[in-house]
Amino acid sequence: MISQEIVRPSDCTLAVCLPTSRERFMKARADVENRDFVLHHCATWEKYNHYVMSHLSIVLPELIRMGVCVQLDVTHCDFSRLLSSARSRVIILFAHYVEGAAEFADGLHSDEAVTLAVPCEFDGLLDLCVCHPKLLVQRLRDERPRCLVKFTNRPARTSFWIHLYRVLFAILEGEAIAPGQRPTGGVPYLLALERAVAAMLPSRQSQEGLLE
């Protein structure tokens, strides 16, 4: 069972659906019909670079060094392929979510389309790093009961989450995350996630609704 399984960074895939270059950003911004994030949340490259790219460019190389499979500019097809290949036990969907649809590198796709991309036999963990995806989670839990879905019920700031994953994978890699702390060996993903959140947000109150 994935909730109890020891997971290594190499068992995980981070699927980044946000644009990861200026060219991709501009292309996304030109697609006014099928986009939301770069049109209504972060409409200039300079701001995007400041809040998103500067963090991704620090963290992603580290995750790759730890053995995480990092996939950039993931389209809906790529996402489907990742889940079907069964290479990873944990897939992290790092994407924008707007009521009823997730935004991939090729545009918005409905909850139904996202659910269909998950094979019925997938019994790994799907970590949805998107904001308030309750409808999607409900659908996934109903239609893909073998798959474990983790999500956050709080606004997901990109910088916070990307750095949280750095801490999480350090834990999964068996590294100590603070001076004097002993290496943990191997732990299940959800436990590592709880520890990462505790390390990043020491107060209980600030952790509320972060992991569901």
Binding site: H41, T44, E46, K47, Y97, C131, R157
Partner: protein
Amino acid sequence: MTRLDRALQQFLEETGRLKEPVLGGPAQRRISAGEVEKLHTKLTALAQRSRRLSTLLVLLYVILFVVLLVAAVHYREEPTKLNTALGVIGASVAGLLRGIRDVWRQQSALDVLVAIIPNLPPEEVARVAESLFFSTPKEQRKH
């Protein structure tokens, strides 16, 4: 942080554009014509102030140049004093030139903004403000 940066920061803060974007939730609110008008008024005042400042700096530069000439003539027989005077005035000129360059840069940006803002829709004004503000290197911005 320059006065222009501060004005842009205040505008972005008041319109909710300074916040880090999140991976979902409601879109940013629309910007009103009143908010743009307020920014335009502020930038116009800043441009006038900046113009006065650049005039003052150029005047200081001219004065320093005259002082330099006077010192060169006055101390022509005393090389040690002449060297000291030239050193002090040279350093002041270098500092002043740097100031003139910064004021000129800000002045150019202000003139462009004051000219284009009335002709842009509010959302475009926000984009221009974001681009300018976030293109300033982080270490200079410190917000």
